[in-house]
Each structure stands twice: as structure tokens, then as C-alpha cells.
Symmetry: C2
Subunit: 419 residues, 2 copies
């Protein structure tokens, strides 16, 4: 079965909001073997909505809309649904109860426009909203399924997880004749074209499977897709191709799927029982934040210090004032002393430090914006390395953090680090 996702809202068209809802739904549908054939984004305009509903139902088995269900005048999805399906509004007592309970819990008064949200299309059934006031609708017509949800991400996600996915699975699973599965291998430090050439003859490598290359600033993702008659065969085929790819470019692969590099590093630190402390200057806490995004991070993360001022570097990390005067606070020597200092005061296995110029201001001819020094100490050695990133402040923070995490990963795995 296939699906068309319709995202509704002028804020999406004018680029005020990034369409993360469609990604979430696309991902959830793919997991249960529904192929998303199209995503469209349209504005809050009733006739445009109705036209799109028609086109989507003509081509897809399942249509999912999000957005335009709020209580205000610019929310037109419910009206469009009523017109399109030629039905009428009826009051849902269950929804009205939900709204009243919700408002009582929050200590707020139910307003007239909230009460109006309990009016739902007569055709189809209601999808309860336990995180907001607008209910969703589940409409079946001529064997096709039309699902309407609000656009607020956590309300929509809860409806998907608590209702939509299970109900779709019930319908789809008995009909499945083939099983499509994909796996993504995450690489870093190798350009797309080099990766492509290193993989050699793709027909030989893949057989019937497909391979997609997804490049970004931080690396290239390789997505393998296989279709087999059942899940077990698909899983085996994926594994076989993954192993072949690892044989060819394994040292560039740091993870799989939606894994983040910080999760990989967190797992490695935890499994090896290593502890770490970080002294950050230019990244301002970004690396500490990533390392503590994982539950259980207190096992390996002892402390982080954001020493933005020179005073903080000297007092807290015992960086030598003369070294700062001689080489500048953005220097190889200072990054090494910071790493040494943070490791000493926190008594961890690993001490890491970064100092650099993130921009847009503060660059010089010898140290342009994007210059970063990373210091790394364990009980035996203290080293430091220079990196040159670009001119975008936030991207520089991210690339510096990514590099620090990659240094930690390679250190733990014993892979030499060459930029």
C-alpha cells in the first residue's frame, strides 16, 4: 500500500516552519511497509485543500493530512473535509469530555472556541488528542483511508504512536506480499565520489537491492534498501550487503540508522568504563550538551567547563598566563594545557579541550575565522591538533563538536586519527 502526506499551513510555504511532521510520518509509515509516494505542502485555502485531497485519494491508498485544525479562523481543514466528503458536523461527547478534563487539569476555563472543537465530521471516527484540544479524524471511503491530524508536532506524534500506526498495521499486515527494509550506514571523512568509486561495481555489490548516497557537511550516509518475500529474508539480505560494504569502506563507517555520533561515543565510553571531562572555549558548552543528551551519561561524564574568559582558563584549568600572553588563548599550547588541566581537576581517564575562533568576528590573518585547536589527554599522553573550518559560527560549533566526538571514537577503538 502507498501513501500521500499532505502538510497544511502557510507557515510551511513561506519557510517559517520546517516540515518535520512529514519526515516523522514518512519514517513511521516506511517502518510498517507503507510506501510514501508523495508529500505535498499547501496553504490554508479551502479550495486548494479540496483539490489536493482529490488528487491524493486518486493516486494513493492512504492519505494523511496534518495542520489547519486549530481553534482559530485560519484553520480550514475541518471545513474542507466536511465539503470534500459531503458530510456534516456532529458534536462528539467524548471529545468535549477530553477538552473539559484537560482544561480542568491545567486550571483553565473552557472557551467557546475550544468547545467548538468537539464538533467533528459525521463520517468516520475520532482520533482522541490527549495533548491538545483538536481531535483527529479517521475516515474510510471506497477502501481508502483518509487520516486528519493537527499540525502541532507532539500532538500529531502521540496520535500516530497511540492510534494511527497500530490501526494501519492491522489493515496492512495480512495483505503484505513483499517486505521492504532499509538500513543506513553513516560514514564520515570520505567524499561521496571517492566512496562511490571504492564501492566498485554496484550491480555486483547490490544485486536487486538499492543503494542511495546522502551527503551532508558532516559525512555521507549510505542507505541500502532490499525487498524480499518476508522479513527474515530481507534482514539477511541487508546484513549480507552491509558486510560487503564494510569490507570495502568499513573504516569510514561510524554508525547506523538514525544514530548520532554522540550516541556512539556515549556507548563506547560506557562499555569501556571510561570517564571524560571537557573544557570548552569556542564551542560554549555544545560538546558537553551532546555528551549529556544520552540517559545514563553521568556514568562517563564527570564535568564540563566553559572557560570563555582568560581568567577562567587560568584559575580553573591552571593554564599558564605566560603561555596565553605568548601564543594567544587560541593556540595549540593553550588547548593542550586546557585538556591537561580539566583532566587533572576532574580526575577522569580522558580530558579534552577546544579553543578557536567561531566567527563571524575575531579572525586574524594568521588565525582566520574557523581556526580551532583541540587538545586531548589521557594518563599517558597530551596532544593537540589544529583544524580549519568555515566561516559560519553555528556550523563551526557543530563541526568542531563532530570532530571532537570522532577523535574520542577513534581513540577508544584504536583507529589513528587523520583529519
Amino acid at each position: 500500500m502507498n501513501a500521500h502526506i499532505i502538510s497544511i499551513g502557510d507557515e510551511l510555504l513561506i519557510g517559517q516552519t520546517v516540515n518535520s511532521n512529514a519526515s516523522f510520518i514518512g519514517n513511521a509509515l516506511s517502518d510498517i511497509q507503507i510506501k510514501v509516494i508523495k508529500i505535498s505542502v499547501i496553504g490554508d485555502d479551502k479550495s486548494v485543500l479540496i483539490n489536493e485531497f482529490k488528487e491524493a485519494l486518486d493516486n494513493a491508498d492512504i492519505v494523511i493530512t496534518t495542520g489547519g485544525l486549530g481553534p482559530t479562523h485560519d484553520d480550514l481543514t475541518r471545513e474542507a473535509v466536511i465539503d470534500f466528503f459531503n458530510t456534516e458536523l456532529v458534536k462528539s461527547d467524548a471529545v468535549l469530555e477530553d477538552i473539559k478534563e484537560r482544561f480542568a487539569r491545567l486550571g483553565r476555563t473552557v472557551t467557546r472556541i475550544n468547545e467548538d472543537q468537539a464538533m467533528v465530521p459525521k463520517i468516520g471516527r475520532v482520533i482522541r488528542n490527549y495533548h491538545g484540544t483538536a481531535p483527529g479524524y479517521w475516515i474510510v471511503q471506497d477502501g481508502k483511508i483518509f487520516i486528519v491530524m493537527p499540525g502541532v508536532p507532539f500532538e500529531m506524534k502521540a496520535m500516530m504512536e497511540e492510534f494511527v500506526i497500530d490501526h494501519l498495521k492491522e489493515i496492512i499486515e495480512p495483505q503484505l506480499k513483499s517486505f521492504t527494509k532499509n538500513r543506513t550506514l553513516l560514514t564520515t571523512g570520505i567524499p561521496e565520489s571517492t566512496l562511490y568509486e571504492k564501492l566498485g561495481d554496484l550491480n555486483e555489490l547490490l544485486g536487486d537491492a538499492k543503494l542511495a548516497f546522502l551527503p551532508s557537511q558532516f559525512g555521507v550516509k549510505l542507505r541500502i534498501t532490499v525487498t524480499e518475500s518476508n522479513e527474515e529474508l530481507a534482514t539477511n539480505k541487508l546484513l549480507e550487503i552491509e558486510q560487503r560494504i564494510r569490507g570495502l569502506v568499513g573504516r569510514f563507517i561510524y554508525g547506523k540508522g538514525n544514530e548520532e555520533l554522540f550516541e556512539v561515543v556515549a556507548r563506547l565510553l560506557t562499555s569501556r568504563g571510561l570517564t571524560i571531562a571537557i573544557a570548552e572555549s569556542c564551542t560554549g558548552g555544545h560538546i558537553s550538551n551532546l555528551l549529556t543528551n544520552v540517559s545514563g551519561s553521568s556514568k562517563y561524564f564527570e564535568r564540563g567547563i566553559v572557560t570563555y574568559s582568560n581568567a577562567a582558563k587560568v584559575e580553573m584549568l591552571k593554564v599558564d598566563e605566560e603561555i596565553i600572553a605568548k601564543y594567544g588563548s587560541v593556540s595549540l599550547e593553550v588547548s593542550r594545557q586546557m585538556a591537561d588541566g580539566i583532566r587533572a581537576i576532574s580526575m577522569t581517564d580522558i580530558g579534552i579541550a577546544v579553543t578557536g575562533i567561531m566567527g563571524p568576528l575575531g579572525g586574524t590573518s594568521s588565525k582566520p575565522v574557523g581556526t580551532v585547536f583541540i587538545g586531548f589527554c589521557d594518563e599517558k599522553v597530551c596532544t593537540a591538533q589544529k583544524f580549519q573550518f568555515g566561516d559560519d559560527r553555528l556550523l563551526n560549533k557543530q563541526r568542531t563538536s563532530q570532530t571532537v566526538l570522532e577523535i574520542i571514537r577513534k581513540y577508544i577503538l584504536g583507529i589513528p586519527f587523520d583529519e
Copy 2:
């Protein structure tokens, strides 16, 4: 004039990549008075691409595609363009030169598949790519403009900024008969329906203008849109409506447009000449990171400490060990002592501290996941306050950070803080 944006790539349909490209383009087009009427996302399938090109050109004056221009086998956009416009490929010496220069600079060898990227559609002109190997195309047919760009965000953005926007402006500006402008006011701490009711009769408030409500976990954005015969009238009208809205709900408005709360706070700290230091436990550096996202942050941000361990809290912030033993490290008392401690060692005007349970593990019946204490000290007072957020770790980090920033903002502006 209006536009249709087509985003190409299976990774978008299966939700592996969020479609930030379309948002960027939508935003850029709106700024130059081009109305985006639709965004569609389709897969790497030649016949699907060709159908979508046709539909888009039937309905819109300008069609912009991104994606599917890479050097690998799954990139089909160029082939689809050739077929759709019934043209052929010719070698572009300029593009080949660009590719060779780029590779020489990076110390890499030009591969056969990179060379092939210099083959471009005979119809139309090339948009040079100074950040990657795939050129874009600018094709004019029957008075309509068809623009093709790669999907790698920074390559596409550079093409937009260095070529596409200026060339579109040249065509559009002489034809403009009306001028549409919008402004977004950012509110926090007030639910959508309450906001709606407080604004009263919208027709009276707005006249011909439009107002959209955009809710999220962090607040509701209000987008005002006006259309007038020229830019000055539009600007004046916007200002007039903004002032009316501020008169009704001003105390909930923290900023405008794409402004982030951390930018507002950074500006306030800078303009008042105040300095700040932060001690974070549960947020793990997230607040420091936000406060240092702004260029010039060293003027107000002195240092941040991520005291994840109790040892770090005691040693670095002089939190009383007995207080930790008595109340636990997640407590009102500890947050106040942390704030006091960080302010004392960094000698700043403001000291802030957070300690809490972000989850998913670590909650107890008296302190469930989402419990957060925020301590705040200036030279006169040291206070602390308890908050209860939800059960999602990353969202809890974000909501805690947002709350801390809002506390700082209100403190500086003298607005009382009630959650």
C-alpha cells in the same frame, strides 16, 4: 508571480532527511514577493519527476527543483530535465574548469563520474556551484522559469544567494503591482485560545490584513500579513497592527521574526552591560551553548560549569555536602547554592543554576522525571524556583533552557516572573 518548489529524493519521503531546503527557498522567495503556492516532495523516479515538472509548470510561473543532481546512479533529475524539455546534454567547459579547480584545491583527483557532471542540458544556462561539483540549471520556456539545483543544503543556499535571488528580482520587481509583507510576533506563556480571545474582534483589529497563529511547545507565534500597493504602505500597516496587538498582549511577546530567545537575552545583557555565569547540572551545557551562539557573547558570558557529579558541585561551586545529603542534589536548596557559588567564583552580575531530572530514568515519586530547580542570584538576592516539565529528555533540556532564558529576560526588563 508564484512558485512551486519540488524537492527530490527518497530520503525525504522515508523521513530520513527533514526538508529544510524547501523552507529556505520558501523564505527567500517570500522575501522577494514571490508567492509559494505549493511544495512537493517526490522520489528518485524519472517518470514521476517528469509528471511533477509538467503539473508544476502548468500552475506556477516559477518552478524550483532541488536534489537528484549528484554523481551517482540514483540521481535522475538531469535525465528527467533532458527528457522533459526534449533537449540534449552538452559539455560545459566552465563547469569542467570549476570541478578541476575545486579538486586541485582539495588535493583530490577528478574522477570520471565527476567529469560527467560537466555535461549539462543544451537548453538554458548553467548556475555555477562553488561549493560542490553538480552545477544548477536556469531554463526559460514560454515565459516560465525552471530552476534546477542540487540538494546539498549549503550548495543550494550559495546558488540561491549568489545567483537565483538576484536574477529573479530583476525579472519580478518591474512587474510588482502590490507588495505583501509579513511580521511575526513571538509569544510565550499564553495558550493559543487565550491569546485568540484576548485579541478580541479580529476583523476590527486587522482590517484587510491576515493573522496566523502558530503554536509549539515553547509558545505561540503570531504572523501578521499585509498586502498594499507599495512597500512603504505595507510597512506602515504592519507597524500599526503590531502596535495594536502589543497593546492587547504585549507582556507575552518576547521577540519578532526569526529571533531566538537567546538572541533577545544576549542583546539585553549586552545593552545593559551585565555579565552572567551559569552552573548547569541536568541541562549539561545546553544553556551555555545557547548563550554563546551569538557573536560577541564574550562581552557578557564569563563562564559556564557543567557540574554533573556531586564532587564537582561541592569542589567548584562550594555547595554544602550536608545540604546535598539532606535534600538531594536535585533540590531547591542545591540550585540556590549552585547559583550563589557560580556567581561568587566568576564575579558576575548574575549567577544562574539548574539541577533536575531529565529522564527517562532517575525519577522518584516525590521528584518525577521533568522536575527542575532553577536558582538565580544577583548582588542583592538569591532565589530558587521549582518547575515540572514532561518526560522527554531532549525536550526537557530545551524547555528548561527556554525557562532560564525567560527568567533572565524578565529580570532585566523588570517583569515579574510567574511560570
